[in-house]
Symmetry: none
Subunit: 193 residues, 2 copies
Amino acid sequence: MASPSLCAANTAASQDLHKVSGFAETKTTQCSFSIESILGLEQKKDGIPAGKPHRPWMDACDDSDPHLQIPVVCYENPLFHGKSDPVQDEKVLKCEKYFSVTERLSFKRELSWYRGRRPRTAFTRNQIEVLENVFKMNSYPGIDIREELARKLDLDEDRIQIWFQNRRAKLKRSHRESQFLMVKNTFTSSLLE
Amino acid sequence: MASPSLCAANTAASQDLHKVSGFAETKTTQCSFSIESILGLEQKKDGIPAGKPHRPWMDACDDSDPHLQIPVVCYENPLFHGKSDPVQDEKVLKCEKYFSVTERLSFKRELSWYRGRRPRTAFTRNQIEVLENVFKMNSYPGIDIREELARKLDLDEDRIQIWFQNRRAKLKRSHRESQFLMVKNTFTSSLLE
DNA sequence: TTTTAATGTAATAGG
DNA sequence: CCTATTACATTAAT
């Protein structure tokens, strides 16, 4: 099952073919990466069925009701407060028009992690500015500050918290990288002496 | 570049200023978060100006030399560990052969927007083929598989990772679109009944 | 114009 | 809280 797929790539192009078949050979003989790993058997420990490609957004294909498959219902989620675009809004409208309450409820019941994922928040320039200014003074605002910010900026406190977490990670990353560059440059110039 | 500038306290924008200063007022009058708490954590601030975006392919480009700012020249850098492809090499050749220094300067000016972005990787047919085949079986390859692919295909592991990210997004998009069509058709036919 | 490589970052998971 | 990944929205190169 697995091998035919890989080898199926070999149809033309001799030069390319060589590389592909070399790749496939490695798989079957040396197993420097195993069929198992390719098949996803070494996937994260949670109960993801082996052999199935873990495509969460397609899981609903097995559902009987095709209506339940549209991601559109995410936008009915009260948690949603991202920016709206005309296309999506139109979809929502259609949804509200044509689906009963119970139907919409079963939508929500069917939400898997991906569909339950919070729609990405698009902060405004002003919100970012304020957050950055606070961050300059205090990268670890306590709950009271976060609540204050949430009120001032009209955001959930949760969003604030996540923002500061990501912001700290960013700062740390940049710090790490500049240090790395410094070391590398030092090394380089020492070689040039 | 195109992305919203995170830093930059702006100078105009009365609305923004109002909000910021309003916030500061709260800090000093109500003390809903204390100066102490901020000052206590102010040691957190390291003197890092702004996050450097980690662009290893630009690392050794000296900012003082304008020539070194055109991406093309980065390929002459021994530290550049990207893969040289014929197209880029040809560009370099043409650059050196046919353009005067001043011409190259204006060229550079024209391409200034380009600075800081990794040159677009052009995958070969064979690389795509292998990647697609692996993707069919596993859309979420772990680090080991990615490294293996990187070796086999002579690409950076980073490129592999990005490729799978974009590939997943593409699959999801197509899936979404086909579902939308399905739902639309369902609506249409139900309206015609 | 379309497709897709690259980027930045919000959201999530696990420790 | 942190780190590591992922999804997602955009930008830009082909």
